[in-house]
Symmetry: C2
Subunit: 270 residues, 2 copies
DNA sequence: CCCAGATTTTTGTCTATACATAATTGCAAG
DNA sequence: CTTGCAATTATGTATAGACAAAAATCTGGG
């Protein structure tokens, strides 16, 4: 019988998940199940015990079990369907979470000196290609700015950005002396959608000069466009030297992530 | 009074969020609040109405409001503290979610022809540098493989990978004829931690040959190491031509994401 | 054997209530 | 004006019960 099979699967066959102290009951249930999934004891496709069995096993009400399973479902670890029950989800497609470093914050946190040089700043009308990328009408007036991010005297990145003045009119009179545009925008305007493209390019003469690398050196390019619902807000293009510093992310499939900026030319974990 | 102020803030001052049909009550509450936050009407730091007021406003029980707010809290949109109430969270740090493309799946989905060439495959003992990166002891035996991913005759990526045979002994006798190693591993072994490093490098002679690009061409490099709890599983280094295809991701701060592989040499949204 | 409709199982949502716990606020003593 | 304790308030967690909705399963007719 399905119920019997499910119930037996609750017996601890693995060493026993280290009991988290001070956790609520629904958290405990969640942890137990997460452990069974992550250890491989309950593989993808495995049908978990029904709520009623878990409820009997933990001696609690259905709402408590429901909350635990609901959270796991929201995390994407399991898939729940009425009448069909809950099954362990197929391993998430290989994806990485990657922090776009806020240089100012990062530098302050590690006691380093941050500086940004605004090398260009002007109002301009967008061309056809930009219009296509952003969804704006050709000729729309935007703020264009080119900035260099410098931490402890080292050029970390070169940034080219356009800002939709219709969406963020305050940007017109702002000098961005205290704060790089990205940080300024983030504190002011909420966004609902972002699109990223990552690529590598050989530095042309201008980029090489501004980023302080050799001509033709491989550079990492990160392009980021942001919308507030359907209204385009900003497009940023960040260029990083390909060697030296790199974008890095550490994360787990359960949704928690920790980040940093890897330093040096070596590959070692910092 | 705080309560009165909070209650008045519930009056719809913005056009009114488009009523989602068929949604549950807690979903409706969640959407309403999310809309108020995303539109900027409730800025970061804004103290939201207390559960009791929301409960009165929507004419429902506290548990329903609680579920909605709990979900928003889990999403990171609000921060809740006992007695202190709930406030709108500071905008999330700028981060991107980026899919590591599963070429086989992607190709099949779009009706293209996928092929992978295994160019090298051998058992070897790791050197000191690799040991440091992975946490294994120097001299540990691993499977080394170099593979090329080809979609519709175009070389999309070149992959170098090592697999810890102690953690995945089945890999020793597997030929990987049907399936690239990454896919094979993903289907078999759950992982709990992953670390990514993204960089750009100029192709050396061998990489240029295998990736079919010119020497010194900028290439995108993605390095990914995976652990199962503390046990190292695998390290993959993926090289993509810098021009042409790129890694891309589209996502929203509320946690939903959609992905694809951008094609062509142009920048336009596909 | 196949199909349609009735049945049953399992999750989804909600209510009303209760007690626990964290943190602010207010009050009173020093 | 500060310090410490008490009261208050808002959230956190849990219970028990109820009905709804989706979907697998069973059943009978053709």
């Amino acid at each position: 019988m399905a119920s019997a099979a499910a119930k037996s699967s609750l017996k601890k066959t693995t060493p026993a998940p280290p009991a988290p102290r001070g956790a609520s009951l629904n958290q405990t249930i969640r942890n137990d199940i997460e452990h069974k999934i992550m250890s491989g004891e309950w593989p993808p496709g495995f049908r978990l015990p029904v709520e009623h069995d878990l409820m009997a096993h933990y001696g609690c009400s259905r709402m408590t079990v429901n909350k635990a399973l609901g959270a796991l479902s929201a995390q994407g670890l399991i898939i729940r369907r009425r009448r069909a029950g809950s099954v362990v989800a197929a391993p998430s497609a290989d994806r990485a979470v990657l922090q776009i470093v806020d240089f100012a914050a990062e530098a302050q946190r590690s006691g380093k000196l941050y500086r940004h040089d605004m090398m260009e700043r002007r109002m301009e009308e967008i061309d056809a290609a930009t219009a296509r990328r952003t969804g704006l009408k050709p000729g729309t007036r935007v703020l264009y700015a080119a900035t260099r991010h410098v931490v402890d005297g080292v050029i970390e990145a070169y940034e080219e950005r356009i800002v939709n003045l219709a969406a963020v009119p305050q940007a017109r009179r702002e000098s961005f002396a205290d704060m790089p545009i990205g940080t300024w925008l983030l504190q002011r305007v909420p966004w609902s959608d972002a699109e990223h493209i990552i690529g590598a390019i050989n530095a042309d003469a201008r980029l090489a000069r501004r980023l302080g690398v050799e001509r033709h050196a491989a550079c990492l390019m990160l392009e980021r466009r942001t919308w507030q619902n359907t209204v385009f807000l900003t497009e940023a293009r960040l260029y990083y030297p390909g060697t030296g510093h790199r974008l890095v992310g550490r994360f787990s499939p359960t949704g928690n992530a920790a980040f940093g900026l890897a330093g040096g030319t070596e590959n070692g974990r910092s």
